[in-house]
């Protein structure tokens, strides 16, 4: 993590409003096996799992903080750092690999300055290299949040990036 994203995170941490996390916990409080849905709900509300919400969850569900941390680091779906508004998933599956997915990754790194699992300082983009996303017919392929962009070249990739850069 670069120093500036650390600062951003600190500011975010300070400003964390626990209302949403409390609401998620309220919803699942009496359910058995509620830790996963609570954590998923918190991630949905905040975009990631802020540390304060982990302590809150530990206290309210009476689960050890260490245990929650174990769960959070076990599953790839949970994120402990703030993530970008737009998650760019670059498929690194076999088909995409053959069709030059490596170059797409390089482009991303060149244009946005972020590699795998990194986030831009302005919290706009997060890059993720993932295994097959199941669209081999359109290789090489990337996903930006829920939208899929296939048959990409470096130039087309640039266009996609520019499109999202222009958006809020």
């Amino acid at each position: 993590m670069t120093e500036s994203t650390e600062q951003v995170q600190e500011q975010v941490e300070e400003a964390i409003d626990l209302t949403a996390a409390n609401e998620v916990i309220d919803k699942y409080l009496t359910m058995t096996g509620n830790l996963m849905p609570v954590l998923q709900g918190i991630q949905e509300a905040y975009g990631y799992i802020p540390e304060e919400t982990v302590h809150l969850t530990a206290e309210r569900l009476n689960v050890y903080t260490s245990q929650i941390y174990g769960v959070l680091t076990f599953y790839a779906q949970f994120h402990l750092k703030p993530r970008g508004k737009y998650i760019i998933r670059v498929c690194m599956g076999t088909a995409c690999h053959v069709k030059g997915a490596g170059r797409l990754g390089e482009t991303l790194e060149d244009r946005l300055g972020i590699g795998h699992a990194e986030t831009t300082e302005d919290l706009k983009f997060t890059a993720e290299y993932v295994a097959c996303i199941g669209a081999c017919g359109m290789a090489p392929v990337i996903m930006v949040n829920d939208a899929t962009y296939g048959s990409l070249s470096v130039q087309k990739m640039d266009e996609v990036i520019q499109k999202y850069q222009a958006m809020d």
């Binding site: 982990v54 009476n62 050890y64 260490s66 245990q67 929650i68 941390y69 174990g70 076990f74």
Partner: protein
Amino acid sequence: MVNLTIDGKQITTSKTSTIYEAAKENDIYIPVLCYAKKLLPYGACRVCLVEVEQMKGRLIPSCTTPVTEGMVVTTMSDEIKKVRKTVLEFLLVNHVVDCPVCDKGGECDLQDLTYEYEVVTSRFEGEKFDLPKDEANPFIERNMNRCVLCGKCVRVCDEVVGYGSYSFINRGFETKIATAFDRGLDCEFCGQCVSMCPVGALLPRPFKFKARPWQLKEVNSVCGYCGNGCTVTLGVKDNEVQTIRFNDETGVNDGNLCIRGRFGYSYVNSNKRLTKPLVRRDGVLKEASWDEAIQTAVQGFKDAGEQVGIISGARLTNEELFLVKNLSKALGTENLDHSGGECYKGVTEGLLETLGVRASTATFPLVEKANAILAIRSDFYETHPVFGMVVNQAIRRNEAKLSIIADKFGKLSKLPNARTLLHKPGLELNVLNALCHVIVEEGLAKTEGLNGLDELKAALKEYSAETVAELVGGDADAIKQTARELAGAENAAIMLAYGLPYTAYSKELAIAAANLALLTGIAGRQGSGLYLCGEKANSQGAIDLAILPGGKGMGAQQMLAAAGSGELKALYLVGEDPLVSYPNRSLVEKALEKSFLVVQDIFLSPSAQMADVVFPAASFAEKAGTFTNAERRIQQLHVGIKSPGEAKTDFAILQLLLKELGTSAPATPAEAFKSLAAETPGYEMVSLDMVGPQGYVWGGDNLEPELKQLVPVAGAQPLADKYQLLVGSALYHSGTLSTHAKGPNAAVAAPYIELGREDAAELQLVNDDMLKLKTVEGEIQAKVKVDRRLPKGVFFTPYHFAELELNKIYSGQPAIAVEPVKV
């Protein structure tokens, strides 16, 4: 029972046994790494694989497989040997083999197994871990490069300690054991994880590079701190206690210890220990010979005539206390008491009126089987941590329901499904009365054989759950729930800790607790118990031996008052430091100033600094004798090291005094035990050879009450003041003794004032700000500690620290009205 065959041997064992346990019972060896007697079966390491004829085709982990009828087990074959060796090879792929500098060397399970299975070369190659060591705390070094992921530390911290420091994090090769957010360890530092670790991943830092295990002489003794009476096995080399060794075979604590027991031994080796007798000459304490010191003391006592008072500590052995008692007879005084005076006296008087016995009615291990548990005072875990761990196990293994009558939240409140009956300061009695009220009103009381039921019923009228809940700021339904659980449980426990910082309402509290124990049938019922737990290692022994004022004699507080007014001419303090630890400092100060003062201690305590004669005494590690713990278990201490310089055991010093007074004294502690057993109720039939490795519980596992007398006690009224200070114990300390030990001091080195977040925000305080608390009597100041434990308007400070001079404002009140001022 189940019959099976292991290695051709016919075995009969309990049907709940695993193959490993059955083999172990019969001295058949199966290697293990992840198994521990006190933990639930886990099956992580695969070293204990065996063959079972009925389950052919694969090897069976013996530590997780239950025995079945007719099972035929083979624990060693070529196949087993090959597989175990392969398992070890796999473990050694990632493990750094830095045995020459690893403190575990010589007692490392992995090292031993590698040797046993001759794993000379490895067929596999792989990445070695290169993780940074965790040296964030002074107690436990964590070197995860040596970890074999057996999970014992994770499990013991959860199953036994109930703290939950560790978890497995990440996945696959990246898997490791870490704390929350993978930070440095910051916990209770009880070191249970260290004692469980089969490799050198978790090691005691104070012991680093001190000795190889085979160089240590092991001496079993009893921890000198609290009334739990844990066995501590001293690891001795060069006449120094180098470490405390793991031992789950001896005593009542199953190898569990707290920070004080495991890391608090260093005061024994302290270079600040007193090594020579001191006598005041020309106003200054100067070194003297034993002859001179003894003669000066005895002359002073003689000059005082009958106006002598003796206040003893409760960390003396029974044998030493017996000599203290003999000395009081030789001096012709009945002014005899031990720690706290009012406090301990109140508890014992309360118990005598209600149950007719002055002790816990059951033993600690029984609590593990309890279905309902009530802890009075949240500080119970702080004063008796290892007993607290038994409570945790009862909850986790037996689904026991725990309720805590508390003025603040504590460790116990965090245990699963624990119910905290929170009340405003000083209102424990009201909550206890409300519990009795619910039981009586709902017809749940076991009234057979109880005296005084009608009077109690009438007195309880004003204590309905609703009325009390409103007064104390609690929840009526929670009170009712707890009362029903206690009344309905097959096995239940009520626990009350007492000690110097808990002097208020002590007699009333003991009575109220006894009332509840009688109404629920807990007192005297097999498997249930009322536990009265003294703060110090031999608090119960001091009560048993009646180190209490006799006849017209004065108690500790009265003696101090009388010494201050000149009525009492001489005071003898045996292992007590009242100037720091007793309530009401000005009273103590005056008493010590005016009287001819003889102090016996291992350090030059603030009280000793005021003395006319100071005797250098011995620590628990230097003496033989017995302690009686809070469950009436008599246990033997053994001499581990020699005392520094000319210091002598309290026993030897008291012998000298008795001789100088022309009285005979028993020649050895063993002889003294014989004499004291003969005249101490409950000890009559006990001889030292009955006091084996597990000690001897006088009165049996369940002590039958001699009386069943209900006695009404009135509740208290809350203070109206906005800010109130509670006084008590901190987990890391015990009395004033632990403030001389490196371990506890590294955890909490200085006094502090704890407050909740709301108050901190309102008073604009953050951690480490200096806060002054003013009262009519005076003021104290200390650094602030902000957390979530304390309700609004309530502060807490521990009483252990001399520099705080807490007793300038503390005179035994349940809570002190204070005015906070930010400095």
